[in-house]
Symmetry: C2
Subunit: 342 residues, 2 copies
DNA sequence: CTCCTGTAGGCGAACGTTCGCCTAGTTGGT
DNA sequence: ACCAACTAGGCGAACGTTCGCCTACAGGAG
């Protein structure tokens, strides 16, 4: 099927090892005549090196495995794109394994990556943050870097400062004079959710406001459940004048619930999201949100992983990338209308 | 680093080939005693089979390559998820290569997949639909299935019926009595765009309306450019009472532009999108859209590819999956308010 | 005692590379 | 004319598997 070095060598009248040295290897003492013959033989036969065979002997596949929750999540997808780009830039390919929601047995997928002898693994599956069996695979067998906490430690984590995210969003609302600031969180058992909630509480405390549990509602990150959570919130406390949504998707649901209740945004109720999906610059009204550097996080994760693999260099246990408040109209102050040019 | 069959064999007191037969191979005549010894040796040493070596001899990597445009596109990401799931279900891993927008040299990425000896390639990069060099790689070297048209033919295409999509959306608007129906398209050089536009024109003709070029505006699929295109449309023709957006992202921009102009949806202007992003059930108002089966398309593409690889069976040149109109409030008729439960 | 059959497992070859060492032939110096 | 040094390329081994054939031994039938 495929042409091998043996074929090329025979066709060019040299040993296959020499052909290999010329085509794939580094500098080698070969006359420019035979070099030419080898190259043209390779071109003529359509030789494509077999990286598998190479990997077998070099003990390195130049392939990184990514185990991800679910690429339907825009944020995660963006992270993966960043990672893939950086990996390619540094000469590595990316093998991807997603973990089904239905059957969260991530051991199979991870094991499949290891069987293929990936040089390292990026874990991007918050769903697995409590999975000790996967944690064991990740700490023992193969170098890894994670987007989420891995039980037992030993795996460097790269991400953004979630506590600061919650603080930034909430402080903005407090600064605008809001007193009853509610929040719609993601699933409570997630660490991100706890961190953002802590940031929310930090900001309340800093503004001299008390954290009222009645102002906190949980969702599953979706717009639909953000919508439902907002309804519960408004039923319980009609005095709410601001809502911090723990994701932009949730925020879309919040906006639609407020609209359905006849509450104007930002006049009756201000809203802040987080993630900075491209389209939230065009919600009605445009959404103030916290920009999270997903793409850069992906790049950084790969960079960290490859450094760790290559130089056995000490890699920081934890890298947090900066987040940034993006002010738009949904909070009323300093908000700009949708910018058609961006 | 890794434990090999040789180690396991030595530890169990059998030849490495026998260990291999017991651990990875099919049925083999071995006493239950040695079988036991081999298994416990493998467990104790932590043996993990080396799929690379296996692939070298079996001439099959059980790996599928996907070359994709850009996973930031929700639709494409969803397609990839569907493909990955189906591949895993059928025992294959997925190697992914994205094509940077900046440097659209897709030959490198595709070649990298081939060097890794993937069993087949899924092309999911509409951006490459005019790239003849990539087309050559895809038709010659390795079995492929594509999401987009591949110049020269010979590569089965799986997707949805774009013409019908345009027709469905537009016919719905015509049926509601709209006479000046505009459309915001994606980039004009794309085949999808042309197909959907043809569907749009079909529906206009069927309703006895004439296709006015002044009612067509182009965008780059983004909300921002959908917003801008709508502004141009409204400037040119204030009589427009309905807009068909060629994607939901565009539709979000359309909604925001209409809102900015003080036009009520659906009373002053109806809007239909397409894709059926989860969040458009919660735009203001909820968006009527055409549901496209991205996930199923991904599954189907893999199924087709594996069938083609395995049985050398004749595979249909073209598979179109059905699309479906999802009626919500943005057209006014039969629209339901956001359903918090879904 | 020989022959046949069955069982348990060994053994060599191959897949397509990389890598380091080896060798045949040519120069150059003295 | 002899030896050293260089040049151009060959060669064997190894990476970790799979695969098919081979062998050693045991038991039973004739």
């Amino acid at each position: 099927m495929y042409v091998s070095l043996k074929d090329v060598g025979a066709h060019a009248g040299v040993s296959f090892q020499t052909a290999g040295k010329v085509l794939n290897g580094r500098a080698v003492a070969v006359s420019s005549d035979t070099r030419e013959r080898i190259h043209s033989a390779a071109a003529e036969l359509g030789y494509v090196p077999n990286v598998l065979a190479r990997s077998l002997i070099t003990q390195s596949t130049c392939t990184i495995g990514i185990v991800a929750d679910d690429l339907n999540d825009w944020a995660l997808a963006r992270f993966v794109v960043g990672a893939e780009r950086e990996a390619r830039r540094r000469g590595h390919a990316v093998l991807i394994a997603t973990v089904p929601d239905a059957d969260p047995d991530a051991e199979g997928p991870v094991r499949a990556l290891i069987e293929r002898r990936v040089d390292g693994i990026i874990a991007a599956a918050p769903k697995l943050e409590h999975d000790t069996r996967v944690a064991k695979l990740l700490t023992g067998r193969v170098p890894a870097v994670s987007l989420h906490h891995v039980p037992g430690g030993g795996v460097p984590v790269v991400g953004s400062n979630h506590r600061r995210t919650g603080r930034l969003a909430t402080a903005h609302l407090a600064r605008l004079g809001h007193r009853r600031i509610a929040t719609v969180t993601g699933p409570a058992h997630r660490r991100v959710v706890a961190s953002r909630l802590r940031g929310y509480q930090d900001a309340l405390a800093a503004a001299g406001l008390e954290a009222d549990p009645a102002l906190v509602e949980e969702s599953d990150w979706s717009s639909a459940s953000g919508h439902a959570a907002t309804m519960r919130l408004l039923d319980r406390d009609p005095e709410i004048t601001a809502i911090f949504a723990q994701s932009d998707l949730i925020a879309v649901g919040v906006l639609s619930a407020l609209h359905q209740r006849g509450l104007a945004v930002p006049d009756d109720c201000a809203v802040v999201g987080c993630d900075d999906l491209p389209l939230v610059a065009h919600t009605i009204p445009p959404l103030t949100t916290v920009h999270l550097p997903f793409y850069e996080t992906g790049e950084r994760a790969i960079a960290l992983l490859l450094d760790r693999i290559a130089q056995r260099e000490a890699v920081p246990e934890r890298v947090l990338l900066p987040v940034e408040l993006v002010v738009r109209a949904s909070c009323g102050a300093g908000g700009v209308p949708a910018d058609p040019g961006s």
